[in-house]
Symmetry: C2
Subunit: 200 residues, 2 copies
Amino acid sequence: MSDIYPKSLGRLIEDLKHLPGVGEKTAQRYAFSLLKEDHLFIESLAQDLRDVKREIISCPKCGFISEKGRCMICDDLLRDHTTIMVVSYDQDVIAMEKTDTYHGLYHVLKGVISSSKGIYPEDLNITSLLDRLDGVKEVIIAISPTIDGETTALYLEKILAKYDVLVTRIAHGLPMGASLDYADELTLIQALNNRRSIKE
Amino acid sequence: MSDIYPKSLGRLIEDLKHLPGVGEKTAQRYAFSLLKEDHLFIESLAQDLRDVKREIISCPKCGFISEKGRCMICDDLLRDHTTIMVVSYDQDVIAMEKTDTYHGLYHVLKGVISSSKGIYPEDLNITSLLDRLDGVKEVIIAISPTIDGETTALYLEKILAKYDVLVTRIAHGLPMGASLDYADELTLIQALNNRRSIKE
């Protein structure tokens, strides 16, 4: 059937299936929508793709995306350089920055430990974390509480215990706006165990 | 906040928001996933995008995508050139071809009439349909039964009535595998009205 597509369209559809969660049907929908865009847009999209791949590197210090050398967060002298938040992905940094609440540095692992996917500690950006603990007072572990995320967090806790640094984890509990009766059991247990006194 | 993205990444995210149904969050997810692809893939994606835009045209006869001149369906002498199926979009042709059941020609309107979106009959590929009715015995209207689709189908029925050609519409009713009690009312009404005798 695929011989009904002109060859270039078939190739584009195959390319688009590389995007996360995109199958044949969505790739086809995207390809036809791109076909309707004007030449100027397609040219700039092609150029932007190349630019991103050529210009963006990982910060040698924290692993976060950067245009040249250290990222703008590591380079920012106004931030608290004694606190490091460890996250799994670049996107987590962006989500946290949007809160405008955290002013320390980050460390991006670029993944989580996953025995099912064959991802082990040595595949992650962990050694460079241990190399930068000098002068650091607190390491905040902010990894999504999935099964693989928990494994990763426990692994980090274990190796960080050997260093003279305070290790904390972000709180897990009921998300704001959620109703108690719709929350899953594990979240409820976490919310109960992590309860705090409201006495002033 | 967007100043946390390197500029090229910010541009790519804006580009990706042009895809149908893709907002900030999904565009960001796609951009980060593209960042992880190797140079070779990004180069070929950029090239495929340009090729698609440069090489693919609309068939001057039926409007379906084509690489040069008439599309491979209009050019296929083994198909029944006395039957034309009218569809709204290129993708509809592909869906129908996958059934391997229909062997006539197509006519792609490139949209539906929609007063809310300001799309009128003259914006669609309709004149060229009327220009190719010589020698055609049947026009099958195969437009999705949405509100705008119904408007378009009724409009076509009206203008085609002036021509000496059999006009039919594909059947609407209960989809295969659907349960009656989950079907919406309009579908049930259509299924009832279009009932057929099972007498041989």
